[in-house]
C-alpha cells in the first residue's frame, strides 16, 4: 500500500453546459519518504491536483487515499505551500507563522512556540522583516513566509505548489537546500509542483509531467538516479543527469508542439485590423 494513492481521479469544474473537465484519469502512487516532482504547463491543472491531495477540493470521480484512508478535508499531516502565498494581510510575518505553529502544537507553551517561529523565520532569512506586514514585502519575501509557515508545522507530507517561483537563483538554491534538509531529516514525504525541470531534477526522486489540459493526465515518469546529497555543479557532469534532463525536455517540447498544432487548428483568427492600421496603406 502506497503512502499516497490517487486512483482514477477526474475533476470537473462547473456543471452542465459550463462544465470543463480539468483532470482526467489521474493515477499516482507516492511511497513514504519519497520526493516526487510534477512539472506542467501553466493552466494544466497542477493547483487543482494539489488541492485534491491536500483536501481543499474533492474529486468528481475517483479516490484519494492517504495512508490507506480516503482524504476528507484538510489535515495537519499534509502541509501546504500555496502558489499565491495566501498570507493574512492583517498579520505580521511573525504572526502569520505563529498562527500556524499554534494550531499545529496547541499544547506547547507560548515560549516554545515563539522559538519555533523565530527559527523558521530565520531559516527563510526574514528575521529583519519579522514585524512587517505582507504588504510591505516583495513577492519573493512573501513566498518565503509562506514556506516558513508550512514547514513550521512540521507536517509528515509537504505539498508544495511552485513554492520558489518568485525567487532569484541564489535565494532559490538556499531554500531548495533547506527544503531538502527538512525532508531528509525525519524522512518525510514531499510533492513538489514546479515549472523548472532543473529544480525537479535537483530535488526529486521522480519527475512526472502533467500533460496540458483540459483533460490533463499524467505522462510517463522519469526516475532520477543521482545519489544524494546532490551537488549542483558536479551534477552537470553526471551522464545520468544529462540523459534524464534531455529526455524530460524533449517530452515536454513534444507535448508543447502538440498543443500548439491543436490550438492552430481550433482557433481561426478573424481577418480584422485596427482602422488606423489599415488606413495607413491607402
Amino acid at each position: 500500500m502506497a503512502y499516497l494513492e490517487l486512483k482514477n481521479i477526474y475533476k470537473t469544474y462547473g456543471n452542465d453546459e459550463n462544465a470543463t473537465e480539468v483532470l482526467s484519469n489521474i493515477n499516482l502512487e507516492i511511497e513514504e519518504g519519497e520526493f516526487v516532482a510534477i512539472v506542467g504547463f501553466t493552466g494544466s491543472g497542477k493547483t487543482t491536483l494539489v488541492n485534491l491531495i491536500n483536501g481543499l477540493l474533492e474529486p468528481t470521480k475517483g479516490e484519494v487515499l492517504f495512508k490507506g484512508e480516503p482524504v476528507v478535508g484538510t489535515s495537519h499531516e499534509r502541509g501546504v505551500i500555496f502558489q499565491n502565498y495566501s498570507l493574512l494581510p492583517w498579520l505580521t510575518v511573525g504572526q502569520n507563522v505563529y498562527m500556524a505553529v499554534k494550531e499545529a502544537f496547541p499544547k506547547k507553551p507560548k515560549k516554545e512556540l515563539n522559538a519555533i517561529v523565530a527559527d523558521y523565520v530565520d531559516m527563510v532569512g526574514l528575521t529583519p522583516a519579522i514585524n512587517k506586514r505582507p504588504k510591505e514585502l516583495s513577492g519573493g519575501m512573501r513566498q518565503r513566509v509562506s514556506v516558513a509557515r508550512a514547514l513550521s508545522m512540521k507536517p509528515e507530507m509537504i505539498i508544495m505548489d511552485e513554492p520558489l517561483g518568485a525567487l532569484d537563483a541564489l535565494t532559490r538554491g538556499t531554500l531548495q537546500d533547506e527544503i531538502l534538509n527538512i525532508w531528509g531529516k525525519d524522512k518525510r514525504t514531499a510533492l513538489l509542483i514546479t515549472n523548472d525541470v532543473d529544480e525537479g531534477i535537483y530535488m526529486a526522486d521522480r519527475i512526472i509531467p502533467l500533460r496540458p489540459g483540459p483533460n490533463a493526465t499524467l505522462g510517463p515518469e522519469f526516475k532520477i538516479d543521482i545519489e544524494r546529497p546532490r551537488d549542483k555543479t558536479l551534477m552537470n557532469d553526471n551522464p545520468n543527469y544529462k540523459k534524464t534532463r534531455n529526455a524530460i525536455i524533449e517530452y515536454l517540447m513534444d507535448i508543447g508542439e502538440e498543443r500548439k498544432s491543436q490550438a492552430s487548428e481550433e482557433f481561426i483568427l478573424p481577418d480584422l485590423a485596427p482602422k488606423d492600421f489599415v488606413n495607413q496603406f491607402k
Binding site: T74, V80, S86, M153
Partner: protein
Amino acid sequence: MKQSLTLGKVTKFMGLGFLSSFKDLFTGKLEKEDYKAFLRKVIVPIASVLLFIGLWHLGAKSLYNVEAEFRIEKALNEQGQAAADEMAACIASGDISCQPNTLPSPSQVWASFQSLLKDHALISADKAAFIEKTAALNEKRVAEGKDAIVYTGRPSFVDQIFRSLKTVFAGFFLALLIAVPLGIFIGLSPTLKSAFNWFIQIFKPVSPVVWYLLVFMIVKTLLIDSSEDSSFSISFIAVGLCSMWATLVNTSMGVSSVDKDYINVAKVLKLGNFQKVFKVVLPSSLPLIFTGLKITLSVAWMVLIAIELLAQSPGLGLFVWEEFQNGANDSNAKIIVAMFVIGIIGFLLDRLMLAIQNWVSFEKTDAI
C-alpha cells in the same frame, strides 16, 4: 509597533493633511515644486470659500431688494404714497419692525453666530449661579431622601449641539450593536441570509419620518407607566433604526465575501469555527464593516435633525424648527448658523470615523 505621534502624522491620519501645508509654509520648508501643491491645496480652497461668500452676499442682497421693493409697492397700492415713503424710510433706517424677511447675508449670519455664543455665556453663568445657590439646599434635600432641584432654564445653542451629539451617538451605538452582530450571522449563514433578505430589502428604504412614527407607537406603549420624558429614547432609537442598514448590509457582504485564499488558509490550519470567525473572517471584513459604520454615522447625523424636530427632543433639529416658528428678525440667520454647524460637525464625525478605521484596519483609506 511604536510610532511617534507628530502633528503631521495625526493630521494625515485624520484626513486633514492639508493642515501640514500650513506648517510647512510657516517653517519655510516649502520646496519649489511644493508651491504648486500648496496653491492647489490651500490657496484654491480659500479662494473658493471667498467666492462662495461673495456670491452669497450678492444673492442675499438682491433677494433683500426684491422683498423691500415688494413691501414699498404694496404700501403704495394699499395705503397710498405717504405710506410707501414711510415704509422706504423705515426699511432704510434698519428698524427691526419692517425689515424684509429673506435669505440673511453672511454678515448677519456671523452676527447671529456671535449672539448665540453670547447667549450661551449668559445661560452658562446663570446655570452656574443656580447650581451654587441650590448646592446647600440640594444636599439637605438628598439627605432627606427628596429629589434634588435641577436647573430647568432654556438650553443654549451650544447645549443643543451637545444634546444632538448625545442623541446621535446613542443612536449610532444602538445601530452598531444591532447591525454588526446580525450582519456577521447573516453573512456566515446562507439560511439566515435568505430569512432576512426580504426584511432588509423592504425596511432599508423606509423614510426616517416613518421610522420615528413606528418607534413612537412602540416606545409610548412600553413606557406607559413611566412619567419620564420619552422623547430622547424615541429619537435615538429611531435614529439607530434608520441608520443601521448600511452597516448591516456591508457587514454581511464583507463576511460572506472573504477572499477564498484566506478561507483556504483557515482550512489548512484547521482553525475551529470560533477562531475562523475571529482570526480570519472578521479581520478581513473590517474595512467593509467600517465603510458601513461610516455611512451609518453620517446617515444618523443627517436624519437626526428631522427626527428631533418630530420628537420635540431638544437638539439642533428642534432649535431649527423653533427658530422657524419663532419668525424673529434674526431667526433666518440663526437657521443658517445651525446649517453650518450641522455641516461642520457632520464633516468632523466623518473624519473621526476615518481615523478610527485607519487605526484598526490594515488597509489605509484616503480621505475623499
